[in-house]
Symmetry: C2
DNA sequence: CTAATAGTGTCTATTAGACAGTATGTT
DNA sequence: AACATACTGTCTAATAGACACTATTAG
């Protein structure tokens, strides 16, 4: 082992190849809320949670769907910047909510070589999407997340395609409810992205209760009914209106706008109110 | 660009050097609770939160303190396995609580080359530490975490040394209370580890309220007074005993053991009760 | 009028905060 | 007896859950 007299001298002689190196990617779960049109003029539009998937045009996993993502450029960018770059490429959006989710690093998660992926969750108000998506990118509605014992069935679909996968969710830490995810059935999604999707949705489910995260996927003006729908979709359960209104009352602000033309009593439009 | 007829063929020809590669490390914030002896026979021992730091014996940051950590071996281990390996080396402990904290990736966080670090929080019951620590590893008590406006002052000390640093904590996401950490003053801790320390303690502060995480740093038998002390230290505020007892009553189980010899009424020893 | 959703009032049950009081060891 | 902490009882305030009720539009 060599000896140096100063940090400067050490750094000058540092051999970057002495430790094995690896590649990293940033992968992004882009979540949004979509409306589903109804044929009955009285009924309100149902809300759906949607995610953006990209069809892979190259090996590995050619023709499979995956989350938008890409290799980190180690010399110039941080993982968040990398995620923002990809987000811009795919959606043309820049100032949107982006949160680090988890670093996934199974040894065999990428068949090419060792690739560690730091995943991010991005929340998007679909109304702000101005540009048409690339041909290989498509929104999928999350139409099912059903847990039966340890197996979670997830179903994603759009007009053209239906994707199903199953994940085993095992409690590995009783004190803090940490789960391990294992992919049990999956033939349309690349890499370990089924896990990332489920982990991201779980994160949202948690955070919606104790933060204002939901407003990142709401338009500027919304009704309390719409807001409640979004809560119900993310939480996967029905809520009682009076209790819901009490709880969110200090997070929203009434406006003088109304939403009319709906075949029933019009509703007041609200805005997000920062605390 | 080359074309392949199958994934197999593609992988056979894959050139791992086509994307720039980088190094990764796993760094671990090892937290524990220590007793501080009192001279008054009536008074109970005060509790302290402690963290394990290692003195760097080589460049860079020679002679500075840092969190136990080390380079990931890309071919053979996951980041968690890497953390466990380091944990075993430093403490000789294996089956302990370990949770991924955050992936830190500032461009200049390591002066040698681009190194991305995934940090972990480990919780340890000090009573289970059987082996003597290495000469370069020392426990430091967290004696101060004071927030004044955006500046957080942290003080770590043991019999021999006192370490202080200041971090600017800026709210960057109002909807979810996400903060950015910037090191303002620090001359004894290596890398960006002051940030990791604060982020880890913040994580604990959060999780103690809605999980049973605290029991990972408690001995098998403890009094409710001791448990309350630990809550108070982590939360940084006093709690009222009746309310505290109500809240934790369904997480603990009375035993027939008592803690006597303390100059005041003896207290019943409790055990953690899994839900 | 009817269907459908918007929005409010109120009763009850549960949980959290505060404080006073009693209990019981060691010296 | 005095100190220090252990532990409990109870009053009050705040919050959550449930349900019934009224309001208002398009067709």
């Amino acid at each position: 082992m060599e000896l140096y007299n100063s940090e400067e001298e050490f750094l000058k002689n540092y051999d970057v190849t002495q430790f094995d190196r690896l590649s990293m990617t940033a992968d992004i779960l882009i979540l949004s809320i979509s409306d589903e049109e109804t044929n009955n003029y009285r009924k309100t539009n149902k809300k759906k949670m949607s995610i953006l998937l990209v069809k892979r045009e190259e090996y590995p996993y050619k023709d499979k769907w995956c989350l938008p993502g890409g290799f980190l450029i180690p010399k110039t960018e941080t993982l968040k910047q990398c995620a923002q770059r990809i987000l811009k490429t795919e959606t043309n959006l820049t100032q949107i909510y982006l949160e680090q989710l988890y670093t996934f690093d199974d040894l065999d998660r990428d068949p090419r070589t060792r690739v560690v992926s730091t995943s991010y969750v991005a929340l998007v108000d679909k109304n702000k999407l101005t540009r048409k998506l690339h041909d290989n990118a498509k929104w999928f509605d999350v139409t099912q997340i059903a847990k039966e014992n340890e197996i979670v069935k997830v179903c994603l679909e759009n007009e053209e395609e239906k994707i199903k996968f199953k994940i085993k969710k095992e409690l590995i830490e009783k004190t803090t409810n940490q789960y391990s995810y294992t992919i049990m059935e999956n033939n349309k999604i690349a890499f370990d992205h089924p896990k990332v999707i489920l982990a991201g949705i779980d994160r949202m489910k948690n955070k919606i209760n104790y933060t204002d995260i939901v407003f990142n996927m709401m338009p500027e003006y919304f009704t309390l009914g719409e807001l409640q729908d979004v809560y119900e979709i993310i939480l996967g359960k029905k809520l009682l209106a009076p209790a819901f209104r009490r709880i969110i009352s200090n997070k929203v602000e009434k406006t003088d706008k109304m939403l009319t033309g709906k075949g029933h009593r019009p509703s007041v439009l609200y805005k997000y109110k920062e605390k």
